[in-house]
Every structure is written in structure tokens, then in C-alpha cells.
């Protein structure tokens, strides 16, 4: 029951979805679409599971009064405030309006906190890009040097300065202008590399899927092979 049934479920669901590509007959025709919606629904139950787990972890920290328990209280409080505001559509004119419409508390909290926090975390990347450039991008090997050269051409090529720097090149050497060079880099070697990676990944995905459907891969079930 604990291992065999899950393996059987995985096998049936996976195999019928693969068949669905070739078999237009019902029920296969709409299987992909229905299973997608089912998965979305399950993922939403998972939000409840996740939220429950989050509360459990942080409430335990609060009640134990360990180090930094006050911050856990911040997490619990902000979780509950956002949850209540959203589930009860606080501030909305009626129940049949959008839960994140204008004037709702949910949207106001979102605008004041969620949106700037997200954008700022995102923009931290510019700083980390700078420190990584200094620390990590070193021409240790021939490979690393290639990466650096390609990156530098793009970095300079995508600014007004790069244009000015190489605009003097005469017509027969036009292809060496940095804008042209960076275009070529993107549309030729970059393309080849992307393709090799994509085909490799596709085979990796196909192989993993097959192992799951055939029940060979089962470590996600805690399954040590019998």
C-alpha cells in the first residue's frame, strides 16, 4: 500500500499523458487539460499545507522564546493579517468583486510592502553582479577567458559608448564593429551552445520521466529499492 499504490498511480497518470499526444480519442483528448487543472487545484491545497507548516514552525519558536523569537512573531502576524484581509475581502464593496481590486486592504498591503520588497530584493542583484565580477570572473583557464571575452563584448556593445569606440572602422572591416560583433555572437555561437544544452536537457527530462513512469526511480518516495 505504501509504495506499490503510489508507483502504480504515477505509472498510469504518466503513461496516459504520453499516450494523449498520439491518441485524439476521448478521454485522452482532454486529459492534458483536465490533469493540468487538477494539478493546479492540488498546488493550491499545498498552499494550505505550506501555510500550516509555516505557522507551526514559527509559533513553536515564539512559544519557546528562543533567540530571535520576536521576528517569528512578525512572520506569524504578517501572515495572519494578509490572510484575513484577503480571505474576507476587507475593504471590497461586495463579495462578488475582485479580491485584489482597487480599494481593498489586500491590494493596499500588497502595494505598500510586497511590491517594494520584491523589487528591492530583485535589484540587489546589481550589487552581487558587481562583487562577482571582481571576485569570480577570472581568466583562470582558456575556457574562463572565452567567457570573459564574450561577456565584455556584450557589455561594451550594449552601451552608446561601444558604438562610438568602433564607429571609425572602415566598411570592409565593418563586421568588427562592436554592435555587429555582439549581434553575431548572439545569433551564432550563442545559438549553437543553447541548442546543445537544450537537446541534452530534453534527453535528461525524457530519461527521468521514463524512469518515473517505469518505477525505476523512486527515491522521492523514500524508496530504497527492494
Amino acid at each position: 500500500m505504501k509504495t506499490q499504490v503510489p508507483i502504480l498511480i504515477t505509472m498510469i497518470v504518466g503513461a496516459s499523458l504520453v499516450l494523449a499526444m498520439f491518441v485524439p480519442h476521448s478521454p485522452f483528448r482532454t486529459l492534458d487539460e483536465h490533469f493540468s487543472v487538477w494539478f493546479d487545484i492540488l498546488a493550491c491545497f499545498a498552499f494550505v499545507l505550506g501555510g500550516g507548516n509555516l505557522l507551526k514552525v514559527h509559533l513553536r519558536k515564539v512559544s519557546a522564546r528562543g533567540k530571535d523569537w520576536a521576528y517569528s512573531a512578525v512572520t506569524v502576524a504578517s501572515f495572519l493579517v494578509m490572510l484575513v484581509a484577503g480571505l474576507f475581502k476587507l475593504g471590497a464593496p461586495s463579495w462578488d468583486t475582485d479580491f485584489i481590486g482597487d480599494g481593498t486592504w489586500f491590494k493596499a498591503i500588497y502595494d505598500a510592502t510586497f511590491a517594494p520588497l520584491q523589487a528591492t530584493m530583485f535589484s540587489l542583484l546589481a550589487f552581487f553582479v558587481a562583487s562577482a565580477s571582481f571576485r569570480a570572473f577570472r581568466a583562470k583557464t582558456r575556457e574562463a577567458t572565452l567567457l570573459l571575452v564574450a561577456a565584455s563584448i556584450i557589455l561594451v556593445g550594449r552601451t552608446p559608448l561601444g558604438d562610438t569606440l568602433t564607429a571609425w572602422l572602415p566598411r570592409p572591416l565593418e563586421f568588427l564593429r562592436i554592435a555587429n560583433l555582439s549581434n553575431w555572437l548572439l545569433s551564432v555561437p550563442n545559438l549553437a551552445g543553447q541548442r546543445a544544452i537544450m537537446v541534452g536537457i530534453a534527453l535528461g527530462v525524457i530519461s527521468t520521466s521514463l524512469k518515473l513512469i517505469l518505477g525505476i526511480e523512486r527515491s522521492h518516495l523514500g524508496g530504497v529499492r527492494e
Binding site: 504520453v18 490533469f35 512572520t75 551564432v188 546543445a196 534527453l203
Partner: protein
């Protein structure tokens, strides 16, 4: 930038202030970990978990589960859906969802594996077909190009070299690089052959191609990240401009 505050309501300026202070709290992490960052981090975690939960409930569970299982239940919330006919198949995801929640109770936690098995099967089935079609077969097809290009001004190359007649040198070189690059890149990924001898040489060329790819991605990504930082600074400028 300035003047944006004129005519702003109290609520708007509060939103701006809270946003600006939280922006600074996150930036302070760059100096080192500190109570402001810790506060912002814990706030972010709690709020965003609830945000996704609420969004999931209103945009998926309500219309796609209850709305299909028993539409009349939604008369007050989604009148447009309430007239539909019940679809009992949606009892299956309901049951699977409840099985998933069994994880919260230790004694029956193993039942959640059944729901997980569905998810894994779904992943295996859909990804198998999707990757086979667009990434495996699709990419093979796109790589089939002639190694020799005749005529002038052939589209697809940026360097536009070549002469007035006969061979288009630029396009020819580009196509050779694409084919050789793709093939040697694939050789790099061989697992059952050590990278020695001819395989080793091909794999070597393959890794060079991969490195150029990574370099290009690096350059472009740097550009995008800097633009976002400029956007954030402009936001702080708007806040500062509003203060004076």
C-alpha cells in the same frame, strides 16, 4: 520625478513611505545582517506565504474546484459561473487534495504519497511529450542548415561579409559554427565515454562553445540587473523628492 506627490491622498503617501523604508531595510543587508533586514525578511516571508495562499484560493480553488464541482455554491461570489452544471470528476482532485493534507497528521501522513504520486506522474507525462516535441525534435530540425551558402546578402548573418557573387562567406562561416558548435556541445554531455582522445578534443571544443554562450548570457543579464537598480533608485528619488 518630483511633483508626483501633489494631489496624492494620505493612503498613497503612506504606501510610498512604507515602501521606501522597507526598500532601505533590504538594502541595509549589503552592509551586514541587522535587525531592520531581519524584520523586513520575516515580514516578507509571512506576507508572501499568505498572499499566494489567498491568490490560490480565490483564483483556483473557488472557480475551478467548487465552481465545477457544485456551481450553485458560488451564487454570491461568482454569479457568472453559478449557472454551470456540476462535474463530478472534480471530486478526484478534492480527494487528492485532502489526502495531501493528511501530512499534517503523523499517523496517516503516508496517505499523502498517493497525491504526490499523481503530481509526479503528471510531471513525467507532460514533460516527456513537451520536451520531445519542442526541444529534441524541434532543435534537431533547426540545426539542419547547409554548410555552404551561395549568393549575397543572405539573411541571418550580422557580419554581412561575402563577395558580390558566388560564396557568401559570412553566412557560410556562421552556419559551420552553428553545426560544429551544436555537435561538439552534445559530445561534451556524453556520459559513457571518458573525455580522452577524439572525444576529448570534440568535448573541448564543445565546452568552448558553451562558455561563449555563458558569456553572452552574463553580459545581457548584467545589463538587465543594472536597469532594475536604476528603477529602484528612481523610486527612492521620488520619495525623497516628495519630502522636500
Amino acid at each position: 520625478m518630483s511633483g508626483a506627490m501633489s494631489g496624492a491622498t494620505l493612503a498613497d503617501s503612506m504606501i510610498l513611505w512604507v515602501g521606501a523604508l522597507l526598500t532601505l531595510a533590504i538594502f541595509s543587508f549589503l552592509y551586514r545582517d541587522n535587525p531592520f533586514y531581519k524584520f523586513a525578511e520575516h515580514l516578507f516571508v509571512g506576507m508572501s506565504a499568505a498572499y499566494w495562499m489567498v491568490t490560490g484560493i480565490w483564483s483556483t480553488i473557488v472557480p475551478n474546484l467548487f465552481g465545477r464541482l457544485y456551481p450553485p455554491s458560488l451564487r454570491a461570489i461568482l454569479p457568472a459561473v453559478a449557472e454551470g452544471t456540476p462535474n463530478l470528476w472534480y471530486a478526484v482532485p478534492l480527494v487528492l487534495g485532502l489526502l495531501l493534507l493528511a501530512r499534517l497528521v503523523d499517523r496517516i501522513a503516508w496517505l499523502s504519497r498517493w497525491a504526490m504520486a499523481f503530481v509526479i506522474g503528471f510531471a513525467a507525462g507532460t514533460n516527456f511529450t513537451r520536451y520531445l516535441q519542442s526541444d529534441f525534435v524541434g532543435q534537431i530540425k533547426s540545426t539542419i542548415v547547409p554548410l555552404v551558402v551561395l549568393g549575397t546578402g543572405a539573411a541571418g548573418t550580422a557580419d554581412g561579409g561575402g563577395g558580390a557573387s558566388g560564396l557568401d562567406l559570412g553566412a557560410t562561416i556562421s552556419n559551420i559554427v552553428i553545426v560544429v558548435g551544436t555537435l561538439t556541445g552534445l559530445v561534451y554531455f556524453f556520459f559513457s565515454k571518458e573525455h580522452t582522445g577524439a572525444t576529448g578534443k570534440a568535448a573541448r571544443v564543445g565546452i568552448w562553445v558553451l562558455m561563449v554562450t555563458f558569456g553572452a548570457a552574463f553580459g545581457y543579464t548584467v545589463m538587465a540587473r543594472v536597469s532594475l537598480l536604476i528603477g529602484r533608485f528612481a523610486f527612492l528619488g521620488q520619495w525623497l523628492g516628495g519630502m522636500f
